[in-house]
C-alpha cells in the first residue's frame, strides 16, 4: 500500500533527473577567496541568466583526477580551472577539449597569453613578496632584501617546492629579471639557485596552501613571505595591514578547460564565454585583485581597483612571466632535486 506512492516518486525522479542533469553544470575551482569571487561574478550571473544551475566543486589542482576521468570515459566535471603548466600538458596528452574560440569571443580582445588551443585564460595572478607593515620598520623592496636576514630579521615563508623559489633565488643573487630562465636552464644556473636557497634555508618556513602565507604574517610567524597576491588582497579587505612588494613578482594565468568527452560541452562553452565577457571579468576583478584577461574589462574598472592588479603598469614593471615550457621540461627533475636538497 505504502509502496505505491514511493514507487511513483522514484519513477518521477528517474524521469526528471536526466532533465535536471542537462541544465546543471559542474564547475571546479580552487575555492577560497578566489572561489568566492568567481561565484559572485560568474556563477551567480550564469544562474541568473537562466542558462542553468552551477554546482561548484573545489579541488587542489590534482590533474590525476582529470586524467582518471578521461581514461575511464566518465566525465563528471564540465569546466575546470587549471594552472598554466597543466593546460599545456593536458592539451598535449589529450585530456581537454579543443576550444572553439568563435563561440568564446574575439581573440584580439584577450591578452595574448590567454589564448590557448585547449583553454581560455581567465585571470592573471602573481606570486609576490608580502610582509606585515605593522611589524617591519622599513619596507623590503627586492628579493635581495628578502634574503637579507640581517637587515630584516625573522623567518621567511616560501612555497614548498622548487617552482617560483628558484626564480626568486636567482633574482636575489643579482640575475636580471629578463635572464632568469636563461640562467636557470643551465646546469650552473640551477646549481647557483640551489646554493642561494641553501643560504636562506635555516630561516625558511615552507607553506603548502595559498591560505597559509597571510596567516603566517598575521600570526607573526614570519617577517616576509612569498604569497599569491589575491590572498594578501583578501587579508587587506579584512583590515590586516599586509603589504606587497611587486618587484620581481612572477605572474601567471589560470585557465578554464573542459575535460575531454564531457556530456555538457555546449553549456560548458557557454559558461566559459560568459565568464570571459568584459562585464563579468570586471566584476570579478572588483572582488579579488587578479587581473582580467579580457582587455575590454580594464576600461570598466576604476583606477583604485586597477592599481591593485598584477597587470597594472606600476606593478608589472619589473615582473617576470612564468615560463610554462621551461617548467614543463625541467619541472620534474627540479622538483626531485628540491626534495633531495631539503633532505640535506
Amino acid at each position: 500500500m505504502k509502496l505505491k506512492p514511493l514507487m511513483i516518486a522514484v519513477a518521477a525522479a528517474a524521469v526528471c533527473l536526466p532533465a535536471l542533469a542537462q541544465s546543471q553544470l559542474t564547475v571546479v575551482n580552487f575555492g577560497g577567496a578566489n572561489g568566492a569571487a568567481q561565484k559572485k561574478a560568474y556563477f551567480e550571473a550564469f544562474e541568473k541568466s537562466g542558462a542553468g544551475k552551477i554546482q561548484q566543486v573545489e579541488y587542489n589542482g590534482e590533474q590525476a583526477k582529470i586524467k582518471a576521468m578521461v581514461e575511464a570515459k566518465k566525465i563528471t566535471w564540465d569546466v575546470v580551472e587549471v594552472e598554466s603548466p597543466d593546460v599545456n600538458r593536458g592539451c598535449d596528452e589529450g585530456l581537454f577539449e579543443k576550444i572553439d574560440w568563435s563561440k568564446v569571443g574575439n581573440k584580439a580582445d584577450f591578452q595574448p597569453a590567454a589564448v590557448h588551443e585547449c583553454g581560455v585564460g581567465t585571470f592573471i595572478w602573481s606570486t609576490v613578496m608580502a610582509y606585515n607593515a605593522d611589524k617591519l620598520k622599513t619596507a623590503p623592496v627586492t628579493w635581495a632584501d628578502f634574503w637579507n636576514t640581517q637587515k630584516f630579521p625573522g623567518k621567511r615563508g616560501m612555497r614548498k617546492g622548487a617552482r617560483y623559489n628558484l626564480e626568486f633565488a636567482l633574482m636575489a643573487d643579482g640575475v636580471k629579471t629578463a635572464d632568469v630562465y636563461k640562467v636557470l636552464a643551465t646546469k650552473d644556473g640551477a646549481d647557483r639557485a640551489f646554493k642561494k636557497m641553501t643560504e636562506l634555508k635555516p630561516s625558511i618556513q615552507f607553506w603548502e596552501a595559498g591560505a597559509q602565507p597571510p596567516q603566517f604574517l598575521v600570526a607573526g610567524d614570519v617577517a616576509m613571505t612569498t604569497a599569491y597576491n589575491g590572498r594578501i588582497d583578501a587579508a587587506q579587505r579584512e583590515g590586516k595591514n599586509l603589504q606587497i612588494a611587486w618587484t620581481g613578482g612572477i605572474y601567471d594565468l589560470d585557465f578554464w578547460v573542459m575535460p575531454k568527452g564531457g556530456a555538457n560541452k555546449d553549456l560548458a562553452l557557454k559558461f566559459i564565454s560568459m565568464a570571459s565577457s568584459p562585464d563579468a571579468q570586471a566584476e570579478y576583478a572588483r572582488n579579488i585583485s587578479y587581473g582580467p584577461t579580457n582587455n575590454k574589462a580594464l576600461a570598466k574598472l576604476d583606477p583604485k581597483v586597477l592599481a591593485l592588479l598584477p597587470t597594472s603598469p606600476a606593478n608589472s614593471k619589473d615582473a617576470l612571466q612564468f615560463n610554462i615550457s621551461f617548467w614543463a621540461d625541467q619541472g620534474e627533475a627540479l622538483e626531485k632535486r628540491f626534495a633531495a636538497w631539503s633532505a640535506q
Binding site: 590533474q63 592539451c91 596528452e93 603548502e208 621540461d329 625541467q330 633532505a343
Partner: protein, 422 residues
C-alpha cells in the same frame, strides 16, 4: 577441512556397503564444500576487486613501460645495434621520423613526450615540437632525415635523448623501481647510483622509517603505563576511561591536525604557557618541523597502541606476580621479570600496528612538517597528482608495500618465538 574429515570414513564405508555409499558420501561432502565456498564467495570477490586487483595493477604499473615501445618501435629496432657512444645511426633518424608521423593523435605524442621527459629534462618540448612540425619532407633518405631533424632542433644531436629512447624501447622496465632506491641504468645498461643532487629517495625512505620508529617508541612509552592502569581499574571505570581514549579516535584526522596547529603555533597556547611559566624567553618552534609531526602522529596513533595492550593485559592473571612477590622478589623486579614478558604479544601487536600505519602517513607531515619532514607517501602523491608520473608513484608504493610485508614476516617470526617462550 571437509576432505580430511571424509578420509577416515572412506575405508570403513568401502568395507561394509561398497562403492555406492562412498560416492554418495563424497557427493554430500562436495555439496557441503560448495555451499561453504558460495557463502564466502561475496567476500572473496569483494577482496579480489577492491584489494588484489588494485594491488596487482600497482605492481604492474611500477614496471610497465608501454609509452616508447608502443610508438617508437622502429626507432627502437634501429637503435638496437647502436654502441651508445658514437652518433646514432642515420637509420634511427629516419625511423624516428616515420614513427612520429605514424602517431595518429596528439594525445599519444604527449604521453610519449611525458615519458621521455621524466628520463631526460627537455624531451617534452623536443618531441612535441618535432611532432607539431611534421612532415619535415617527402621521401627522405636516412641522411636527409637526419639533416632535417637537426635543422629543426639541434638537440637531436645530443646523445641523452637517444639513450632514453633506446633504454625505454622494451615494454617492461626496472627503471622506476631502481629510481625509487636512488639507482639508475646508465647508457650502457649498467646499474649505477644516481648523482648526489638527485639522490632523494633513500634519505626519504630512511626518514619514513625513523619517524615511524620514533612514533612507535613514544606510543609504547606513553601507552604502556596507561594501558596498565586501565587494566587494573574496575570494569565500570575502565569502560569510562576507554571512551576517553577512543574519543579522539572518532574525530577526523584533519580536525585534530587543525587543533594542533592552533596549539603549537608561535603564539599558540603551548608557547604562551611556556613563556608564562618562564620556561622559555621566546617562543619555541613547535610547528613545521619534525617535533610537530611527531607530536601529532603520536596523538593520532596512541589508541592503536593502547587497545591491543589493554586486551592482552586484561588476560594476564594477577597471581603470577603475587607468587613471585611471595617467593621473595621485589615488586619492581616481579613487574619487569614476570608481568612485562607476558604482555610482549600486546607490545608487538600494538607496535606493528602503529609502525605500519605510520609509514603510510601523508596528511599529518604534509600539514605540520617542513620539506625535510615529508614521508614517502608525500612523494607518491606528488608523482600521482603533480608530475602525473604514475609509474614512479606505483614504484614508490611498491617499495612501501614490500617493506611492510617484510616487517610483517619479521613480526610473525618474532611473535611466534615469544609465544613459544611463554
Amino acid at each position: 577441512m571437509n576432505a580430511t574429515a571424509a578420509r577416515p570414513l572412506m575405508p570403513l564405508a568401502a568395507d561394509t556397503t561398497g562403492p555406492a555409499l562412498v560416492a554418495q558420501l563424497r557427493q554430500v561432502e562436495r555439496r557441503k564444500r560448495l555451499r561453504a565456498i558460495a557463502l564466502t564467495l561475496p567476500l572473496l570477490i569483494f577482496l579480489a576487486v577492491t584489494f588484489l586487483v588494485p594491488l596487482g595493477a600497482l605492481l604492474v604499473r611500477a614496471v610497465e613501460n608501454p609509452e616508447v615501445a608502443g610508438t617508437l618501435s622502429r626507432t627502437g629496432d634501429a637503435l638496437a645495434v647502436w654502441d651508445r657512444e658514437s652518433a646514432p645511426p642515420d637509420a634511427a633518424y629516419a625511423a624516428l621520423l616515420a614513427d612520429l608521423a605514424a602517431i595518429p593523435e596528439t594525445a599519444q605524442a604527449g604521453v610519449l613526450a611525458r615519458r621521455l621527459n621524466s628520463e631526460v629534462s627537455g624531451a617534452r618540448s623536443l618531441i612535441m615540437g618535432t611532432y607539431r612540425a611534421l612532415p619535415l619532407g617527402e621521401n627522405l633518405s636516412p641522411l636527409q632525415a637526419k639533416e632535417k631533424l637537426l635543422a629543426h632542433d639541434p638537440r637531436w644531436a645530443e646523445l641523452p635523448y637517444w639513450w632514453a629512447i633506446a633504454k625505454n624501447s622494451s615494454r617492461w622496465t626496472p627503471d622506476y623501481l631502481l629510481a625509487s632506491v636512488d639507482l639508475k641504468r646508465d647508457a650502457q645498461g649498467h646499474v649505477v647510483r644516481v648523482g648526489a643532487e638527485e639522490a632523494a629517495f633513500s634519505v626519504i625512505l630512511f626518514r619514513t622509517f625513523s619517524i615511524s620508529a620514533v612514533v612507535t617508541l613514544i606510543c609504547i612509552l606513553l601507552g604502556y603505563p596507561l594501558a596498565y592502569w586501565l587494566a587494573t581499574l574496575s570494569e565500570r571505570k575502565a569502560n569510562l576511561m576507554m571512551i576517553l581514549v577512543l574519543l579522539p579516535f572518532w574525530t577526523s584526522v584533519l580536525v585534530r591536525i587543525a587543533a594542533w596547529i592552533v596549539l603549537l603555533q608561535t603564539n599558540g597556547l603551548v608557547n604562551r604557557f611556556l613563556m608564562f611559566t618562564g620556561l622559555t624567553g621566546e617562543p619555541v618552534p613547535l610547528l613545521f618541523n619534525r617535533l610537530g609531526v611527531i607530536i601529532a602522529m603520536v596523538h593520532i596513533l596512541l589508541p592503536f597502541m593502547i587497545l591491543p595492550l589493554y586486551s592482552v593485559m586484561k588476560s594476564v592473571p594477577g597471581n603470577y606476580v603475587r607468587a613471585a612477590v611471595s617467593l621473595g622478589s621485589t615488586p619492581l623486579a616481579a613487574f619487569f621479570r614476570v608481568y612485562v614478558p607476558q604482555t610482549y604479544p600486546g607490545v608487538a601487536a600494538g607496535g606493528l600496528l602503529v609502525f605500519i600505519t605510520s609509514i603510510g602517513y601523508y596528511v599529518t607531515p604534509a600539514l605540520l612538517g617542513g620539506p625535510a619532514d615529508q614521508m614517502l607517501s608525500y612523494y607518491v602523491a606528488q608523482y600521482t597528482n603533480v608530475d602525473v608520473n604514475w609509474g614512479m608513484a606505483c614504484a614508490l608504493g611498491s617499495v612501501l608495500l614490500a617493506t611492510t610485508l617484510i616487517l610483517y614476516s619479521v613480526y610473525r617470526r618474532f611473535a611466534k618465538a615469544e609465544l613459544s617462550l611463554g
